[in-house]
């Protein structure tokens, strides 16, 4: 059995998933291969070491305290499924509101400008002079138009 194949079987060996014959071949390879033996020692050693964490014991009365909470309302995980879309929707609404506000202000400014121009035009006597209208030179002098 090749070293690569043995190392590919490390997890299966750890989890007891090798057949009897596979396990025998695995062990036989380790006997004859110092490198694989060292790698296996490290790989299995750390897994064994995890077992030294024996965990904690539940405090006395845990079950009783849990049962006393049966009638409390469920904890709302603040719409985690909705939180992000709602935030994006709020941002989009804000941008749209800002855009509408800016466009509305721009339109009001344009309207005001037009009103000023029309007021000046009504007062411009030269607009009744055909010669003026024909060449528009006089109009160009009024930069408001």
């Amino acid at each position: 059995m090749s070293c690569q194949r043995v190392r590919n079987q490390f997890d299966a060996r750890l989890d007891g998933r090798l057949t009897a014959s596979e396990q025998a071949a695995f062990d036989a390879h380790l006997i004859g291969c110092a490198d694989c033996r060292s790698e296996w020692g490290a790989y299995s050693g750390v897994w064994q070491m995890l077992g030294r964490d024996e965990g904690i014991e539940p405090s006395i009365g845990f079950a009783e305290r849990t049962l006393r909470r049966l009638n409390e309302p469920p904890v709302v995980v603040h719409g985690w499924a909705w939180g992000r879309p709602l935030r994006w929707a709020a941002l989009a609404a804000s941008i749209i509101a800002l855009g509408v506000g800016a466009w509305s202000r721009h339109e009001r400014m344009l309207d005001q400008k037009r009103a000023e121009v029309y007021a000046r035009m009504r007062q411009a006597d030269y607009l009744e002079d055909y010669d003026v209208i024909a060449n528009l030179d006089k109009l160009k002098e009024d930069h408001s138009l």
């Binding site: 490390f10 997890d11 750890l14 989890d15 490290a42 790989y43 050693g45 750390v46 897994w47 064994q48 070491m49 995890l50 077992g51 030294r52 964490d53 024996e54 965990g55 904690i56 014991e57 539940p58 405090s59 845990f62 079950a63 009783e64 305290r65 849990t66 049962l67 909470r69 049966l70 409390e72 469920p74 904890v75 995980v77 985690w80």
Partner: protein, 193 residues
């Protein structure tokens, strides 16, 4: 899954409103649930609070319970979701999680009650405690899916198939997660084994 599984039998009684059956389920699985949470989030008090929420969720979901899988697979799926929700909550409110990191200490500074490991030499006990802290820290630093796979495989003895169901992935993905986790732990804990 048939009613020959005692957990399923109890759960069907819980579905019918039997709180004594729920008590028995809690007592059978409280240690596993508390330690799974504790290994993931690191605070014993919060682990118990969250474990209580797991069992409350079991109770609230009992009307919809169908014994299509092993009870523990369903239980650990709820446990994992509870842990994920807690991580999200801590990410949104990091100041809260700082308080949660303060483990309760007794007068000897030994912290939460661990089972008696028959270690009598104080120096050896200190070394052992440091080693256990290194182990739990290394596990806690794994990516969530790898961490869950390691905890369920190493400490709760779940099969690849059961872990895959809890994680919502394939068996081959589960094997890959375990392999990567073991490689990472081997590097992090080099020198301790």
């Amino acid at each position: 899954m048939t009613s020959s599984d005692p957990d399923v039998t109890l759960m069907l009684r819980v579905r019918d409103g039997d709180t004594e059956a729920l008590r028995e389920l809690i007592e059978r699985h409280q240690r596993a649930v508390i330690n799974t949470i504790h290994r993931a989030i690191g605070d014993a008090w919060e682990a118990e609070d969250l474990a209580q929420r797991v069992f409350l969720q079991v109770y609230r979901s009992s009307k919809r319970y169908k014994p299509t899988a092993k009870f523990t697979t369903w239980l650990f799926t709820i446990t994992r979701n509870t842990i994920l929700n807690e991580h999200r909550r801590r990410n949104r409110h990091p100041a809260d999680s700082l308080d949660a990191l303060q483990e309760p200490r007794d007068e000897d500074g030994a912290g939460w009650q661990a089972p008696d490991s028959n270690v009598r030499d104080p120096a050896q006990a200190a070394v052992e405690r440091e080693l256990q802290e290194k182990i739990t820290q290394a596990i806690r630093e794994l990516p969530e899916a790898q961490r869950t796979a390691v905890i369920l495989c190493r400490y709760e003895g779940l099969s690849y198939e059961e872990i895959a169901t809890v994680l919502g992935c394939s068996v081959s993905a589960t094997k890959s997660l375990l392999h990567r986790a073991r490689q990472t732990l081997k590097e992090k804990l080099r020198g301790y084994y």
